[in-house]
Structures are given as C-alpha cells and as structure tokens.
C-alpha cells in the first residue's frame, strides 16, 4: 500500500516535470490561418449621398453606411491582414495609402475611413466602368484584392458604343464589386458650396444620356439627326437619372467582364461573409502559443498529488456522526 502511494506521488511529479520540459521545448505550433489583403476603393460621387440605408431607425446615406460598416469590419479582421484605402470619382480612383497591417495601424486606418467625405471628390462625373478599369490597371501586380464599393450609378449614362474594355485586365485582378444602395429609386441630395443641403437634384440638373461621340441608334430613327451638328437628334433627353438606385444587373455585368465577383452590401454580416471568399484569402503560417496544453497537464498532475485524502474525510464525517447524541 505504502509503496504504491509513494510511486503515484513521485510519478505524478515526474510526469509534471516532463510536461514542463515539453512546454519549454515546444512553446509554439505553426498553424495555417487565413489572412486577407484588401484595397477598398470607395465611390464618393454624389449619388452615394442618397439616404436609403437604415441605422438605429435613422436614415443614413450610402457613404456613411459604407464607412460605418468598413470600420466595424476592421475590428473583425484577423491580425496580419492588410487594408489599403482608395477613393473613386470621375473616371478613376486614387490610393490614399497602401495596404497596412490592421492590428498595428488600426487607429490610423479607422481615422482615415471616418474622414472620407464626398467633398474629397476632385471632379464630379461618375463613370464607374472606366473607373473600375483604371483602378484595375493602376493596381495590376499588387497582392491586394480590389474591393470596389459603388452604387453603379453612371453619371452621365454610358453610351453603349463607348464601353470600357476589360479584356486587358480580365483574369489578372482579384477582387470584388460591392453594390451599395437600395433597389428603389431615391432622390440625390444637393449641397451648396458651404456643405448645407439645399434640396434634391431635379430632372433638369442632370444629363439623361451621354452626348459624347456617335449615337448608338440608327440615324434614321433619330429625330432631327444631323451627323455633324446633332448626332443625337434635336429632342431633349428625358429620364430618371436624377434618381438613384443600386444598378445590380449592371454591376454584375461589369463583374463578369472584369473577372470580379459581385455582392450586395446589406449589413456587416453579409459583407464580411462575402469578403471571406477563399479566393481572396491567403493562408499564412502563424505561430500559435500551445504552452497551455502541457501546463494544464502539469497542473492536473500536481493537483493530484495534493488531492485531499478521501478516507480522511470519511473519518472526519464518521466522527461527526458519532458525536451526534443518540436519542
């Protein structure tokens, strides 16, 4: 009896010591973890000011919703992931900073996202197809996936004769197009030079068709056609270009042409799901701390050595019982 007892205590301590030895020899394990490298290109054209998102029962603009969602997304990205930021307006985009590691530069990225403003736009057109093309050309060899966030509202509308040709970049770029906005048309707010809202855009404020180059229609169909002076005819164009909605089919088409996938932004959940596309992830070998496992084993073994003797308790309770006066 004594010998077995002795063996179990020394054995436990020996095993605990071996566990500690293992702990110091193999503190880390190499583990594969998906990390991401995104370059977010945010559309800051005027249609992004349309308020068709709801947040806390308040209407928020598309741009504010995008900013809010990106900031929340930033908190969820695993360390070692990188985020770059760019802006799109007119026919091209600009890069504010190259992708930065999210954990070490969290404050900087977060602050810059929060400062994105539609007034940063350096020109007023919104030619999304060309913007996407020039963005993909600008960042061809980067490891970063281009996440192009836009509502698909071309202003002025694109003449089908002069569409962007994505054949040069197709298959080279990886990334996504994220559609922003509601499917129902809403008016676009109009601001004065001081940044105060002065109403909404009227049908008269915006061009309803492109008047660049040659019309794509058969000249005999165009009223008042004159090849030199009125290639688009004499009729004033009418349309609903002063209203905006998410042009989903158009963006899907652009995605198919450029080889990017498409997803619609509804909330953080769906954005982070869409962005966790395994195509965009790179497996990185990360050192994970596994010292806990041998330490836990050592702890259990050590506790076993000092586990109160059960028979002592039994004796203690037996004594207690015997002290109770018998009636």
């Amino acid at each position: 009896m004594n010998h077995t007892l002795k063996d179990y205590r020394i054995g436990c301590l020996l095993l605990a010591l071996i566990a500690m030895l293992v702990l110091f020899m193999y503190p880390n394990k190499q583990q594969k973890m998906p990390t991401y490298n995104y370059t977010f290109i945010v559309d800051i054209t005027r249609s992004m000011n349309a308020t068709d998102y709801q947040q806390d029962n308040q209407a928020v603009s598309r741009l504010n919703f995008v900013k809010q969602t990106l900031r929340e997304l930033l908190q969820k990205l695993p360390c070692e992931s990188k985020v770059g930021l760019g802006l799109f307006t007119e026919r091209r985009s600009t890069l504010l900073f190259e992708p930065l590691e999210v954990c070490s530069a969290y404050t900087e990225i977060d602050t810059t996202i929060s400062k994105i403003d539609w007034r940063m736009a350096w020109a007023a057109d919104s030619n999304i197809a060309k913007g996407l093309l020039s963005t993909l050309e600008m960042l061809p060899k980067s490891e970063s996936s281009v996440i192009f966030i836009t509502d698909g509202q071309e202003a002025p509308p694109v003449n089908p004769n002069y569409q962007a040709d994505f054949s040069s970049v197709k298959g080279q770029a990886k990334g996504m197009i994220i559609g922003v906005g509601g499917l129902q048309s809403v008016p676009i707010p109009k601001f004065d030079s001081q940044g105060k809202q002065t109403g909404f855009y009227n049908p008269d404020d915006v061009p309803h068709r492109s008047s660049f180059g040659q019309s794509n229609l058969d000249p005999s169909q165009i009223k008042g056609y004159n090849a030199r002076n009125a290639p688009f005819g004499s009729e004033a164009a009418t349309g609903n270009e002063h209203l905006t909605s998410l042009h989903e089919t158009y963006l899907e088409k652009l995605g198919a042409e450029s080889g990017l996938s498409y997803a619609r932004l509804t909330d953080l959940q769906n954005l982070s799901q869409a962005l966790q596309n395994p195509k965009l992830a790179t497996e990185k070998v990360v050192q994970t701390d596994i010292r806990r496992q041998p330490a836990l084993l050592a702890l259990l073994l050590l506790s076993l050595v000092y586990l109160p003797k059960v028979y002592k308790f039994r004796r203690f309770f037996a004594r207690e019982r015997s002290l109770v006066p018998k009636l």
């Binding site: 007892l5 400062k115 007034r119 330490a295 050590l302 506790s303 050595v305």
Partner: protein
C-alpha cells in the same frame, strides 16, 4: 505594473492552489501514537515551506495558463521633435519632371487620364523625387508625429498625425498612383491645419507644403487661413518644386501688368505666407538635389523640446510564471527523495 490576463475565467483554477493547505502531499508513515512525538519547530517550518512551494507552483501554472501579462504602458518623455503634417500636391503636373516633361522624355506622352504612357523612365518625375526624399525624411524623424494630407482640386485626408512610421510610409508610397487634377492650395492648407485641432501644443507644429505650383487664394479663405495659422501656432515650410522656365517664388514681375495674383500665383502665395505672422520658410527646389537640401535644413531646424509619449508594448509574463512553476516542481520532486522510507 498593470497586470492583466487574457482569459479571466482560467483564474478560477487558483482554487486548486488551496489544495496543499489541506494535504501536505506526503506519504504518511505509521506511528503508534502521534501525540507521543514531540513537536518540532524546524519540521513544522519545513512542512510549511513545502506547502507554500506547492501553492506557488499551482498558482504559477494557473496564471501562466490564464496568460498573465503587463498591459501596454506609456511613459511621458521629453525629447526633440515636432508634429509635422506633410501636405502633398497631387496635381497632374507633379507627374512631370523638373524639366517640365513626362518622365519618358516625350513632351506630352500622356493618355487621356493623365498617366504617363510608357514604363521606361528616363528622368525622375517631381512626384517620384519628392516621394523618395520624403521617405528618407520620415525615416530620420523618429520621435515626431507625422500626418499626411493631399490636395488637388479638393483636399484629401490621408493619414492622421501618428507615430506609426509604417503608416506614413504607406501613405507616401501611395502617391505613386497617377496624380489627380488642379491645384487648390487653400483647401489643402485648411485641411492640414485641421490636423492640429485637439492635439496638445508641444514641440513645434509644422505644415510642410510640397507643391510645384500655386493658385490664387480667394479673400474669404485668406482670412480664415490667417486666423487658423495664428490659433494653431503652425509654422509653414513651403518646398516649391520649380519646373524649368516657369515663374518662381522670388521672381519679381518685369511688367507691372503681370503684377497680380492671377499672372504670378507663386509670388503672391509667397507674399501671403510672409504676411501670415507665423514663422515661414520657402525653398525653391529646381532639382532633386535642391529638394534634398531643403529637407536637410528642416531636419536640423525643427528640433524643439517636445513632450512625447513613449509606448512600452505589452509584456508577456506567462513565461516567467511557467519558469517559476517548473523550478518549484523540481524542488518538490527533489524533496520527495528525502522522505523517510520505512
């Protein structure tokens, strides 16, 4: 010493550390009657020590498992440095060389988007030269907080004032993308000054304007800028990347008819800056070497004493916990061989 743990619930394992108080973990040897054995202070002391060892070993393991660490600390120190906002011109002309050409040597080798068409770069563009030298500059200024703003037709907020030099370098590197539009310097200056709002006034505050052209500033903006420069106590350095043949900052008009802000925006902007009332220094750089000189000057001049916060990163203490626990385990194990065997 601000201690914290990664997994607080793991601390519940500390209850296990009480175990050695109920059980000395030793083999019991039979004695006819324990009351016969006289009390021995030394033995009692040794037993007590051993129990404490066991308690400490268990506690050490539990704390290690819980991930004990010292939280990030900050220490205020006084050093030499400045708060610098780099205000970079992103107008299209920055993509040309100092000779006013596209970097490939062709007079107008640009496509509709303003991008240089050919990859072969015979000469450095102004933007490339500025980028290269600013990258070095940032490397040398270790204690500074540096922010980045850009402007073309409108101003861009790029990077808040930060001590993270990698972030600043990433922002400077991103100016390699094609430049944008026109030169709207007053908006850019306004944004650069706004970086200093809600920042403590310590050391010198600098706006380093790097541009290759100027524009007339309207009266309203002039007044606002005057006020803001005073309020925020900002010093201004203007590095003017002069293109060959274009008017410089210090050129006086030959003809009195050309003596206006529209015809000579550089001179008038310089005059406006001189009249700001805050320290101002202009450099006219006509080549990458001159630009280097200007940056070296600033590097030397702007080293006022400054309070800054040194961060001491989070320190992992679990390794210490494990080592102590392992040592105590070794002691307990060794003591086991000293037990009376009968």
């Amino acid at each position: 010493m601000n201690l914290a743990v990664n997994t607080p619930w793991a601390l519940s394992g500390l209850v296990l550390a009480l175990l050695p108080l109920f059980n000395n973990g030793m083999r019991s040897s039979p004695a006819p009657w324990t009351a016969l054995i006289p009390g021995d202070t030394l033995s009692a002391f040794v037993v007590c020590c051993l129990r404490l060892c066991a308690v400490a070993a268990i506690a050490g393991l539990v704390l290690g498992i819980a991930g004990l660490h010292r939280t990030e600390q900050s220490r205020e120190r006084i050093g030499h440095g400045a708060h610098i906002v780099l205000l970079l011109d992103r107008s299209s002309s920055m993509d040309n060389t100092f000779a006013g050409r596209a970097p490939n040597g062709v007079d107008d080798g640009k496509d509709a988007g303003g991008r240089a068409m050919h990859g072969a770069i015979a000469e450095e563009s102004k933007a490339t030269a500025a980028r290269r030298l600013l990258t070095d500059f940032v490397k040398q200024r270790q204690n500074d907080l540096i922010g980045v703003a850009e402007y073309s037709t409108s101003s861009l907020f790029v990077m808040p004032l930060t001590e993270n030099k990698n972030a600043v370098q990433a922002a400077i590197a991103a100016t390699a993308t094609p430049a944008l539009g026109f030169t709207h310097v007053s908006k850019g200056l306004g944004m650069a000054i706004s970086f200093f709002e809600q920042q403590p006034v310590t050391g010198s505050r600098i706006v380093l304007l790097v541009s290759d052209g100027a524009a007339a500033i309207d009266h309203d903006s002039e007044q606002k800028l005057r006020l803001w420069f005073k309020q925020q106590q900002v010093r201004l350095y203007w590095i003017f990347l002069r293109t060959a043949g274009s008017p410089g900052i210090f050129d006086q008009p030959e003809d009195s008819r050309a003596d206006n802000a529209g015809a000579m925006p550089e001179l008038y902007l310089h005059k406006f800056f001189l009249g700001l009332g805050s320290p101002y220094q202009a450099y006219e750089a006509e080549s990458p070497d001159a630009l280097k000189q200007a940056i070296a000057d600033i590097n030397q001049l702007e080293n006022l004493p400054m309070h800054y916060v040194e961060r001491i990163p989070k320190q992992d203490l679990s390794a210490v916990c494990y080592s102590i626990a392992a040592f105590l385990l070794l002691v307990l194990f060794g003591v086991k061989f000293c037990e009376v065997k009968r």
